[in-house]
Structure formats: C-alpha cells, structure tokens
Amino acid sequence: MGTPAVSIGDLLADDNDVYRAFALDGHRRNGKIRARAFYRESQHTDGLSVGLSATAAVAHLTTNHGYCSLRVQKVHALPESLQVRSDPQEAGHGLIHNVPCIDSPDDSERKAAELVAGKLARCAVLVTDKPYIPVREGPEPHPPLS
C-alpha cells in the first residue's frame, strides 16, 4: 500500500504565456507590479494560481484590478526551480509549483517567498491595471418577447 499518485499536470512549454490576476488593489501601484501580487499563502496548497488565458486568470475572482502576463521561459529560467504546469483539475487553469509560502512559520521559507515574489513581479508584464471583465462567448440572449 502506498500514497495515491498525485497528478500534477503537464509542464508548460517555455514559449507559452500565463496570466496572473490582481485580486487586490495593492497588487499594483503606479503602473508597477508589486511583489505582493505573487505571494503564495499556505492555504493554496497546490501552488500559485495562474490562468492560461486572461479570462481563466480572473474566473474565480468576484472582482479584479487588472492582470499581468508571464512568459513561462522566464519563470523556468529562475534558479529557484519553479515549474509552470497546467492544472489537471481545471481546464484553462495553471499552477506555478515550488513557490514558497509567505505566511510560513519558517523564516527561511518566508525569506525565499519574498525573494521569489519580487523576482516574479520583475518578470511579469502589466497588461492592464483596470478591472478586466471578459466578454461572454456564445449567442446573444433573445430579446424579451413583447
């Protein structure tokens, strides 16, 4: 008997872009992306959430304050062994694995989390600092019958 195998999703190719939504106003300031936008909290057990599209990045947020893009190659090139993978549980969703937790009781992990968050913020490109509301796809609803 052993531990059940955990499906971690496919490693994304370096030439992909992924998207990180700004869940809070303080994730960007004066046109700059702040390290806080890349804080991973321990409640996010699988990794740091990203979208494979901008729409997927904001899908689970009730509000957002814009989003940024990240070239996967830049993340994989960091010396911290981060891996950008698809999320096998949800199409269109991805996870950055090996991101340390900012709220760790272990100071060395918190220090690493702050370092990584700063590096990811510098790798990222601001797309918009305005709320992003995806356009719904599909047929227009029928006008009400008069």
Binding site: L24, R34, R110, L115, G118
Partner: protein
C-alpha cells in the same frame, strides 16, 4: 558693540540623506497610523473570507512603528493585511523593505537591494523597533 553683517548670513540649509523627503513629515506619519486604525474596516484590502488582523496585533504594530526613529522613516509605508498579519512595505527604485507583524511581540523584516535587475542582497531578520529603524536608515540612504 558690533553687529553681524546681515548680508553675509546664509539661510539655514537643512539636508538629509533620505530619498526625496519633503515637508510635512507629520502628515506622512499620520497617514500610516490612520491606515492602521482603518485596516480592519478597509474592505479594499481583503478578498472574501480573508482573516483580519486582531485588535491586539493592530496595537502591537502601532507600538512598534511609534518607536521608529526618526519618525519620518515611516514616510511612504504601505500598510496592508495578509492572513491576519500586518505588513508595512517600503518600495524604492532599487530597495525594498517589508516589516511583518505576524502576532503581538513579533516583528520580522525582509530587505533586499536590486543592482542591474538582479537581487544583490537580501535577508530576513527578527528585529526590535531599533533594529527596524536601522534597516529603514539603510533604505533611505542614497
């Protein structure tokens, strides 16, 4: 009795090593404490379900930041919660300092310096209020 030749008296020229300091200092300090007062009620700082800092932790952060000397080092600090903790962040063009107040009686500080786009130096320490002032002196030094 001789008098000072007024023409030779130069105006006082106060100088500081802090980055871009401008009067009034008190308004900057007030802003920080006002942000701490409002931190639990400012819904812009939270996602649904995020825990808020306890009143005890808010008081602890105030007590520590009140002891930062000189008080103008508080200028530009962003006060934000995270998972019940309080963070005070200073961000400059090449330096960043984050003071964490995870619970009453604990203060940790992360600080880093960027040179040519790379992290040249970084560390995280448990500090006293005096230690925090020292790191902020480094942050504000040009």
């Amino acid at each position: 009795m001789s008098t000072l030749p007024h023409a030779t008296v130069k105006p006082l020229n106060y100088q500081t090593s802090a980055q871009g300091l401008a009067e009034p200092f008190m308004a900057d300090v007030e802003e920080v404490f006002s942000a701490l007062d409002k931190i639990a009620d400012n819904e812009k700082l939270y996602r649904p379900g995020d825990p808020k800092p306890s009143p005890e932790n808010i008081n602890w952060a105030k007590r520590v930041l009140l002891r930062v000397l000189p008080s103008y080092y508080l200028r530009g600090a962003e006060i934000e919660p995270l998972g019940g903790e309080i963070h005070a962040t200073w961000e400059g063009s090449d330096k960043r300092v984050v003071a964490y107040f995870p619970r009453p009686d604990a203060v940790k500080v992360y600080y880093e310096q960027i040179v040519d786009g790379n992290v040249a130096y970084h560390d995280l320490k448990n500090v006293t209020p005096a230690g925090l002032s020292g790191i902020l002196a480094w942050f504000f030094k040009k």
